[in-house]
């Protein structure tokens, strides 16, 4: 029974993080939530008796992808504040980060 509860909670958390990663207004937060999602996925793999995937997910899925995306977000964010070509792109970005 506890197992079921745990699985249920985990699934719920997975779906919730996935949804909020996509719907979150702030891109930085979205990526952070996505990393959390990756860690939850790793737990899910453990629950599915797949420790190999769990390791890989933790290292690659959550770790590297997360860092990669975080770096990209900061780069895109940074750029936007100091961008020389702000005029060209800003109106499109506005809706994403405001």
């Amino acid at each position: 029974m506890t197992d079921w509860l745990l699985d249920g909670l985990l699934v719920f958390a997975l779906l919730a993080t996935a949804a909020s990663a996509l719907l979150s207004r702030d891109l930085f937060r979205a990526v952070v939530v996505f990393i959390a999602f990756g860690l939850l996925m790793a737990v899910a793999w453990v629950r599915l008796q797949a420790p190999d995937i769990a390791l890989a997910e933790a290292a690659i899925g959550a770790g590297l992808t997360g860092v990669l995306l975080l770096d990209a977000v900061s780069h895109l964010g940074n750029k936007r504040q100091t961008a020389l070509r702000q005029t060209r792109g800003s109106h499109r970005q506005g809706s994403d980060q405001s």
Binding site: L55, A59, I60, L64, V67
Partner: protein, 233 residues
């Protein structure tokens, strides 16, 4: 208004998609399973040269998948470095001067290196293997990179390209070596399976780490570009 309608429509379609998919899964789950594959797998484990079934599948039974997959990784690496600028590594802006990170780095890097080595070594008989080890290694590299440690070998020079190619080439050579003996492509010579797999795993770890790291650092600041075809410029 149209935007909202569209969103609604797409949302509905996606919900319907999930529902149909779920129903399908339910139906398939209701069917008695056909799979005798894991049984077949355990029967053949002894011939695979390793004890851990996932590693056996990855590097022996379905090694062609893995070979091509490393190819995919190398492609991504190539495409990545084809867009990078040589001097980006010295870009001081990219250095983080966070003291916390610095402290972390001093303690973490050796730890992570050890972890990577352990994962690689563990792959033969329990969970772990080249990918996990490579990823950890890459993560270490990322950490070092963020700490501002210059990594000369990551410049898009011959060294980097050698690093990219190393794991893949070794794997490919191992794949073709059996052909000389008249065997199929990717068949390991009898008795050589274990050492070969071990060698392949070690170089793959290096290569995977290298590719991921290269992709991480290939910042898109190359201003030169090709004119579009037909542009008079």
């Amino acid at each position: 208004m149209i935007r909202a309608l569209r969103t609604c429509f797409i949302a509905l379609a996606c919900i319907a998609f999930s529902a149909v998919l779920g129903a399908s899964i339910w139906v398939i789950a209701g069917d008695p399973g056909q799979g005798n594959l894991s049984q077949l797998l355990s029967e053949n484990m002894s011939r695979s040269g390793v004890e851990h079934p996932v590693t056996a599948v990855l590097l022996n039974f379905r090694s062609y998948d893995t070979l091509l997959e490393i190819g995919v990784l190398v492609i991504a690496g190539i495409a990545g470095i084809s867009m990078s600028k040589t001097t980006s590594l010295e870009d001081p802006e990219l250095r983080t001067s966070d003291p916390l990170l610095y402290a972390l780095q001093r303690w973490f890097i050796p730890l992570m290196l050890v972890l990577a080595g352990y994962l690689l070594w563990a792959g033969a008989d329990r969970p772990g293997g080249a990918f996990q080890a490579g990823a950890v290694l890459a993560a270490t590299g990322v950490l070092m990179r963020l700490g501002g440690i210059p990594m000369e070998f990551l410049r898009p020079g011959l060294l980097l390209r050698l690093g990219l190619a190393l794991g893949f080439s070794v794997f490919l050579l191992a794949a073709v070596v059996s052909v000389i003996g008249g065997d199929a492509f990717l068949a390991y010579p009898p008795g050589m399976a274990k050492p070969l797999i071990l060698v392949i795993e070690s170089v793959l770890t290096l290569s995977i780490a290298m590719v991921l790291l290269a992709l991480f650092v290939s910042a898109p600041v190359n201003d030169a570009e090709d004119p579009e075809e037909g542009d008079p410029s």
